[in-house]
Each structure stands twice: as C-alpha cells, then as structure tokens.
Amino acid sequence: MPSLGADMEAGTLVEWLKRPGDRVKRGDVVAVVETQKGAIEVDIFEDGVIERWLVEPGTTVPVGTPLALIGGSPVTPKTAEPLLAAAPEPAAPAVAPPPIVPKPVGRPRRASPAARRLAAERGIALDTLIGSGPGSAVVYADVERATTAVSPRPPVPKRLDFAEMRRAIAAAMARSKREIPHYYLSTTVNLTRSLTWLETTNANRPPAGRLLLAALLLKAVGHALVDAPEFNGFFTGDGFQPGAGIHIGTAIAIRGGGLVAPAIHDADKLSLDELMAQLRDLVARARSGALRSSELSDPTITVTNLGGRGVETVFGVIYPPQVALVGFGMPVERPWAIGGEIAARRVLMATLAADHRASDGHRGALFLADIDRHLQSPEKL
C-alpha cells in the first residue's frame, strides 16, 4: 500500500486491474486504492508477472503492506513493496538516485503486546486503530472492538469523496500551521520577456500544443531549485532531508471543492513541452480523481498558481512534510520604472512561504531572485 500523503495511514484496495499471471511493466496501473483523496490508481515500478494477490478488494491495510507478489524475472519473486518506495528515475541515470519515501512524521503507532498478539491472530492492521491505552497506545480492547466492527464488504468504489478530501486538507493544513514556522518573502517579477516569448512561440502552434505561462513558472522554479536544495525536500523527526529529485507538487483545484497537489517529476529535467503535456494530463486526471500513487506521494515542494483566480499575491501554507511553497499571482499591467522613465509593464507577484527550520530568509531571497532571473530568459527554460 503506497503512501499517498504524509497523513495517510491506511488505504482500501478497491479493485485489481491485473490478474495473477498477467505480465506487467513499469508504469502500468495495476490497482485502484481508495484514500482520503479519492480513488487513486496504483502504478507499478517493476517489470514482471503478477504471481498472486496478497490483499483482497475491500480490505483496508496500513501503508507499507505488500499488495501483490510479482515474479517472472529470473531472480526470485519479490513483493510489490517497492511500489511505495520506487520513484520514476531520470532516463538511464548513471547512478540510480535513492528512492524517495516521505518519512512518516512523528512516532509510530504504539500498541500493547496484548493488542499486537490479538491483531496478528485476527489479521487486523494496528495502524488503522485508534488507541485508548496509556500514551494513546492501541490496547487489547481496541483490537477487539475493531474485529467486531469490521465490514466484510468492499466499499462502493467512488472516484472522489469531497468530505474525505476536506478532512485530509484540514489535517494537513492544521499540522502545517501548528508545526511549521513559516516565513514569507515576495518579489515583483517583470514578465514582459516571458509573455512576449510565449506569444511568439504559441503563434505558430495549434491550440492543443500551446504553452501556458504556468509551464514557464514551474520550469523556472525547477531550475532555481537546483541551486537551492534546502527548499526541496522534507522536514521530519530527523530534521531536513533533501529530496532526491525535484518533484514539484502542482496545486490543482477540484471542481466541487478541495484541491490536490500531484507531482510533476523531475521538473528541472523536462523540456517545456514535456512539462506542459504532463501538466495538462495531471489537471485532467486530478479532476476526474484518477491520480497515480507516485504523483501524490512524491512532491518535494509545492507551487500554487492562483493567477487565474484574479489574486495578486499568494500567502502559501506549506504542505507538510515539505518545506516550501512558491505562490504566483495574476500577471497585471503596472507602471514600471526603467532607466528613470515610467512605462507600462506586465508584472507578477512571486511569493515564497518557507519553513524556517530548514532555511533562512537570506537563502529564500536568493531563491526567489533566481526564479525571477530564469523568467527573464524564457528561451533558455
């Protein structure tokens, strides 16, 4: 069961999309999992043959539980556990980067020895239970209650559950404001060059192939992060852990309420066209509730672009355990002083909300300035 967010403790397997005996290759969607964020497609990171399912549809299991056994490679069968660990790697890397696993923050769930024994006997996942014992430990009676309450039928598959999503957002944002000492910086970016370059580039393209400003902004952030690693990663009980790649979570509003921020993997290495294609795909799938597990678990930073909603400045709330959020407002035409003269220019407010435990304002200012610098050379993005 992949971790699809820092606050996810368990997920329910809704359906298998592959059967034992099916050959699968990396990237195939093999199962659908119900989470607080709706139904998520689980993509696989191993080539091989599905030997058997380890979890039946309808079962709720804690994050980290192997879902299926994959064999078929010449070596011994291995469990599908790497699902939660593996992240897409850049094409043909000389040295594979370590897998990205957002570490669970806080202490692991406590359970008494008696609770553990009973849970093992009855096949109950301790992580799914609420503890009533000392230190909120799960005790025998909690497991006993859970065994009688467990429903044997799978829930009706549904793509999006807005109430659940609201709860997930509430938990994550409350934790952010509770735990993360935010600091905020902003700068006004002169967008003239970027917008002129976009207009020129798009003039010769069919509508479906056109680039949006959002792609440029994401790419600029991706580039800037290469020299600002302290904004790209996770803050956990062990302190700051830099991300192994630059996976930009892109906040996407969901019609009907809520939002998700799935990752665009290795945004610094994608061409603008690739990035744009991914962005279109992500938005479409986010709104239909068909995101993949790796997209939800991997973001190392979040970018929120509220320009389309008519606001000028975004004061971001960091999505834990990430350490930074870059916000972009609406491009607006403003008087701009150039060489002692006033001229009308299209400008945009870029903001940074950053975790003061992981970085300081000085580095944040350099990071924001670097985003600005990249947006002044759009042809190099």
Binding site: S112, P113, A114, A115, R116, R117, S132, G133, P134, G135, S136, A137, V139, Y140, A141
Partner: protein, 329 residues
C-alpha cells in the same frame, strides 16, 4: 476456643499459633530477646512464660548471631525451635547464620541434615521507630535458595502459617508487619489450616492486577475499594509466600486483566517488586496492555517524623494513581 466466629487481633492470632505449637509438640520451644519476662517487644508472647516455663520460653542475650546459631543447632539436634528476632533490621547480625548455615546445611550435607527451624521477625514501618527498626528487608531473604519466606497479612495466615512452617523440614522465615499486630477482625471457626505455597486473590477484578503482600495488603485493598467507586475493578493478589514465589497465580491474573501494579514496602531498586515485574515480562509479556507499574517506599532510610514516614511509604493514593496510569484514565 475455636468454636464460633470471634473477634481477634493479629497479635492474639500469632500468640495462639505459638501456644498451639507448644502444646502439640514437645520438641517446640521459643527463644529470643525479651520473649519471656517482658512478654515480647510487641507483646506477642505475653503470658507464655507463665504457662510453659523457662525451659520452653527462653530469654536470650542480645546477640542475634548466637541465638539464631543456637536455634540452628537445636534444629539439627531434633528440636523444632521458634526463634524470634525483634525486627528484620536486627536480623542482619544473624545473616551469616541464616544465609551461610541454615539455608545451606541440607545441601552441603548431601541431604543428611535438615534444619527445621522457624524464625519469626517483625518488619516494616509506620510506628515511628525510625530507620534502624523500620525497614522491609524480607525481599533480601527471598533471594536465598534454601529458605522459605512467608508474610502473613490476614488473621487466618497469622494464626495458621506457623504450623505449616514448623511442619516444613527446612528453615522458614515468618515476617510479621508491625502495623498488623493491632489489627483486629473476625476469625471464622472453620479457618485454617493454610498452605505456605500459594498466593491468593483477595479481591477479584478484571481491569488491573494489584500484587502485594504483608503490610501493604490492606492499603491495597483500600485502594481497590476506591477504584471500584470509579468503575475500575482491581484484582488484589496477596503473595503470602515470597519464596518460592507463586508466579502462576500472578500470571493468571495478569493474563485476565492485562495490567499489573506491584505494591511493596521495600525499596524498588533490586527488589522483590523488580523480580515480580521481571516474571510478568517473562511469562505474560504478550498479555500486557500497559507497562507494569510499581508503588514502593521512597529510597531513603525510613524517617522518624510521622508525616515524613507516611510520605515515604506506599499509600492508597499512590496505588490508585499507578492503577489509573495503566488504564490511561
């Protein structure tokens, strides 16, 4: 004399037990400091000198090593001596006789010689007798193979444990808590005999097991009564015998309640309470819902002033708090 339920004190129960033993077996005699003319420093043996004479109720010099050694010799010689030591603190002067001789002779003689000796001693605090007369060192003796260590807390055990100890062919130590002597209660006519092997559930319950013995039994029962008012049903186990420990009774109870608190007037470091906790870990780890709790005496020489003495000892409030900690309530 044993017809019908009657009110009796713990002191009277012990005296009756000694008297019965003296009447039943001519090999039985009692010796110790001030047991004869003075009637015992806790007045347990009052009147026995007049009834049985100085041959069988023998006042000894103030030399614990000498008269415990004499008791061992008498036991080896076929007698059934009851030796009284005024308090467990003073028994340290006889430690060599008890640990090096009484406990080992059967083993070292290849089973040729038995030491059917009974040593009674007072233990515990609560009577403002200060640090040199108030300690609870019975846990030390429970460490020694070759000894049997019993701690009568109830009237029935005070009345009948002596007979069982005398019947045992090996040395037995009886610890009488000083705060128990004045306790009185009803002793039913069908009371006794009792064994000196097993622990007993004094109050059944299902939420937490309180393990105790001797002087803290009634404090623990009081605590259980208070807990019951809040809906917490504590099971109270009276160990009765500290060596050999009846681990089974403790484990059976903990297996049911999944929580345990040990109440022991001894200090906690290197103590009997530590031993019981370890046995629960060894035998019932997978049954536990909470760490085992302990309520012991403060790690200081027992103070003389009343308020400090009370503060140093396990009290019902601390027992209640420890029980609740295991229940997270």
């Amino acid at each position: 004399m044993t017809n019908g339920t009657r009110e009796i004190t713990y002191r009277d129960a012990v005296r009756e037990a000694i008297r019965e033993a003296l009447l039943a077996d001519p090999r039985v005699f009692l010796m110790g400091e001030d047991v004869g003319r003075y009637g015992g420093c806790y007045a347990v043996t009052k009147g026995l000198l007049d009834e049985f004479g100085p041959e069988r109720i023998r006042d000894t010099p103030l030399s614990e090593s000498a008269f415990v050694g004499a008791g061992i010799g008498a036991a080896l010689g076929g007698m059934r001596p009851i030796v009284e030591i005024m308090t467990v603190n003073f028994s340290l002067l006889a430690l060599d006789q008890i640990v090096n001789n009484a406990a080992t002779i059967r083993h070292m003689s290849g089973g040729q010689f038995a030491v059917p000796l009974v040593i009674r001693m007072a233990t515990g605090a609560g009577r403002q007798l200060a640090a040199q007369h108030s300690h609870s060192l019975e846990g030390w003796y429970a460490h020694i193979p070759g000894l049997k260590v019993v701690t009568p807390a109830t009237l029935e055990d005070a009345r009948f444990m002596l007979a069982a100890a005398l019947a045992d062919p090996n040395p037995a130590l009886i610890f009488e808590h000083v705060k128990l002597y004045n306790r009185s209660g009803m002793l039913p006519p069908d009371a006794g005999p009792v064994d000196i092997r097993s622990a007993i559930v004094r109050r059944p319950g299902k939420h937490v097991t309180l393990v105790t013995y001797g002087g803290t039994l009634f404090k623990t029962l009081d605590a259980a009564e208070e807990l019951a008012k809040e809906g917490i049903e504590a099971e109270v186990i009276d160990l009765r015998v500290l060596r050999p420990l009846d681990t089974e009774t403790v484990l059976a109870s903990v297996g049911k309640t999944r929580r345990a608190v040990i109440v022991d007037e001894g200090w906690r470091s290197g103590s009997l309470s530590a031993e019981i906790s370890a046995r629960i870990m060894e035998g019932a780890f997978w049954e536990l819902d909470a760490p085992v709790g302990r309520v012991c005496s403060a790690e200081v020489p027992i103070p003389y002033p009343h308020h400090l003495e009370e503060a140093a000892l396990p009290q019902p409030s601390a027992i209640i708090a420890a029980a609740k900690t295991t229940l997270a309530s």
